[in-house]
Symmetry: C2
Subunit: 466 residues, 2 copies
């Protein structure tokens, strides 16, 4: 059995902490059992290790965007297996690329079971035990796809529902009385229908019919999907390198639409533990533990309010600000009742422009100041270059950069000359000058860019050997 962890899109539903360049699955805000903070992807990886799937960690592949590679390695280890998508093209293309990768690069057999799960599900360890049963559910039945459904705890309007065919279940020998709360059925059951985001009253009725929340898990034989890819993906050759090469030119398509809707026999395994989509502040803050993080004064009398502050600027929240989430960082400051955070996408739709903080291969930066003076623009950033990392050799045609080293030790490569630099030094890099920098010990640098105008892609890269 092979497990594919889908490290999906970034999204703004946890804005301002998540953004186009900072995905929610990497936010280290969840309480780990040892008291430390872990991210969604770290939690899932730890749970796999702790579950009955623990022995097959080397069969786990993370499907992720190319810009996430460094971050994934930093968070779950450099030996993790990653298949990198050259661009965002929705779930069908992501899973297709991963499937061809498993066959052509990892040498997987077409008979092997592949299980795909989103990396941002907040679940119990028991969930992974259920994933382990998908293999036998596929062997023991005529299903071409097996899903996992979580037992609903309320008639949510925000989830997708899977309605099992209870008649078939009874005919199959499982007593209906065994289908109640707290008792997981020992086997899978055919799916009768799906319903996306029902109204509350529809959801109530669905739950009465035994419907389950769709966890977004897909289990199938590798060969089954490779056949669909061959027929429908639209690439010249059904091989990993070819799919990867043509990936950016392919249209976005969802796995639900391209595969699940056309499957003949779909079965579902019921999971009765807790399952949460941590996609909104309302659900996310329930798992954070502490009411505040960072430089925050929150009145003790404020009820069910969470305040997260990544800025140095102190945040003061007084009493009677109840059931709210307040989040501040360089990207934005959010003040919202928890019940409203589902509409965050619309509320932040007007925001665009440059990212104000970003994690990079070499570390991270935050924007401290931006100004426009006539045609000239200035941008002041604080850069953190991690020990052993480097900013590649480059030049800028129409901007000057000034670096002030606040702390650390590094090597500067300026116009072909190498020299050691350290805290207290300042370096002027004029327009056109070739420069690179490597941190021997983590460098913190104030960078001032001045240009007329400042253009993000004014960058020419050069080869060099350190």
């Amino acid at each position: 059995m092979r497990l594919i962890l889908l490290s999906g899109g970034s999204g703004k539903r946890l804005w301002p902490l998540s953004s186009d360049v900072r995905s929610k699955q990497f936010l280290k805000l969840l309480k780990a059992p040892d008291g430390a903070r872990e991210s969604m992807i770290q939690r899932v990886y730890r749970q796999i290790r702790e579950s009955s799937l623990g022995g097959m960690l080397n069969s786990v592949t993370v499907a992720a965007g190319e810009i996430q590679l460094e971050q994934i390695r930093m968070q779950i280890g450099s030996d993790v297996d990653i298949v990198a998508e050259p661009a965002r093209r929705d779930t069908f293309l992501a899973i297709a690329l991963a499937a061809s990768y498993l066959k052509d690069v990892k040498g997987a057999n077409e008979d092997e079971t592949v299980v795909v799960m989103p990396v941002d599900s907040f679940v119990d360890v028991e969930y992974f035990d259920k994933l382990g049963r998908i293999d036998s559910a596929l062997s023991g039945t005529d299903a071409d796809m097996v899903l996992v459904g979580a037992k609903p705890t309320r008639p949510s309007e925000k989830y997708g529902y899977i309605v099992p065919d209870n008649t078939a279940l009874r005919a199959n020998g499982t007593p209906t009385s065994n289908h109640g709360a707290g008792s997981a059925p020992e086997r899978s059951c055919p799916v009768s229908k799906f319903k996306e985001k029902p109204t509350e009253s529809e959801a109530k009725k669905l739950i009465e019919e035994g419907a389950l929340w769709n966890c977004g898990v897909f289990g199938f034989r590798l060969g089954y999907l490779l056949d669909i890819i061959a027929r429908n993906l639209g690439v010249s050759e059904n091989r990993y390198e070819t799919i990867r090469g043509q990936f950016t030119d392919l249209k976005r398509r969802s796995f639900d639409y391209e595969v699940v809707e056309h499957a003949k026999n779909i079965r579902v395994i019921e999971y009765t533990g807790s399952w949460k989509d941590l996609g909104t502040w309302e659900t996310f803050t329930e798992e954070i533990g502490d009411r505040t993080m960072g430089n925050v004064w929150l009145d003790d009398a404020a009820q069910d309010t969470h305040v997260l502050n990544e800025l140095d600027i102190p945040v003061v929240v007084m009493k009677e600000v109840d059931h709210a989430v307040i989040v501040a960082n360089h990207e934005g400051i959010l003040v919202a009742p928890k019940g409203q955070t589902y509409h965050l996408k619309e509320a932040t739709a007007h925001l665009g422009g440059r990212p104000m903080q970003e994690e990079k291969r070499w570390g991270e930066y935050i924007v401290l100041d931006y100004c426009k003076y006539g045609d000239t623009e200035s941008l002041t950033k604080k850069l953190t270059i991690l020990s052993g990392r480097q900013i590649s050799y480059q030049s800028h045609a129409s901007r000057k950069e000034i670096w002030m080293i606040l702390s650390g030790v590094g090597t500067l490569y300026l116009n072909g000359e190498k020299r050691a630099i350290s805290a207290g030094e300042s370096i002027v890099i004029a327009e056109g000058e070739k420069h690179a920098i490597r941190a021997e010990e983590t460098l913190e640098i104030i960078e001032v860019q001045l240009g007329a105008p400042l253009v993000e892609d004014d960058i020419t890269r050069y080869e060099m050997v350190w």
Copy 2:
């Protein structure tokens, strides 16, 4: 008649906009009649000009702390008369210094009437006409002090109340029927008692008795106060220069306690127009006009909520955040229901440390970043030096400074050598190096300080001629 405008303490009641270094009376947030924004002190000064006191603007003296001088001149003109307090010593000492200044510096006669009013009262122009009647109220009665009381509009627990002696008022010939809403009594009336911050039910009873809100206005003969100063101030000689010289060593004392409580005959003039203490966000936001200022997205459905943002970071406030005030700048971020802002002092009591933005004689600065690396500290500021202003000639024993000029043109004076500087240049000022800078056109500069440790008073000043 002489008018003293008390430009009082800074306070944190409008935190984070007001702070120890930024007084609320200078916040340009009130809507002026021409649509522009004006500060409290600008509004009062404009109203005096528009009132029946308009002809006596040259008899107005502003009593203010020394650090406020530049700001007052920038806001109401360089020809305004200011008496500067060397330190904060409460109202008795502030008024005593101003009274001795009127006599010894301005040559005021001891028989002249002096009227003192706080600069942060939000009133109608009619209020100033009432101040003009204090002189005749003092002449026509045996009062040694005349106050102004505003007709209450609700039984507030937050104000001080003046209870007039209505018996005396009737005996004095003013018909009681004339004492109703909307009709100002034509003359003053003896004060029977005072009550500070009553409970709501007490306040209701007081209002039934005809009590008025104490506007904090004091009218008296200059000689009356000079006698009290001679007896009670505790300085070696009752002269302006002496009082000023010994000011810092004197104990804080309030004018109410030292003077009003001992006055034998106090009368009050009723003012029926609107009067507001703009000391809390609740009252202040009522006069701002717009719901938002700065980079703010506020849901249209949020009711009676004000969002003020001085940061570049966007603020997003969703619906159902009602009756709230949200204020963000480099000093802090406040989220509070309007009814709670009265408790702001307690909520911000834990905050201290260095100011994060400050107006200076030469312009202003904001702190962009502060870090500690072992013993070494770094502080990154953005300085704005206004055209024609300069930072004085100085050196620092244990910190290095690096300046990057973002915009403007200026003159640098470094170790006795003068040179022109302009946008794009960077200047390294090592420990011990003497430096000054003057803006020919307004300069914007990123300054990085590095020291081990960074000490605020590590500054040696030198004489120089530009």
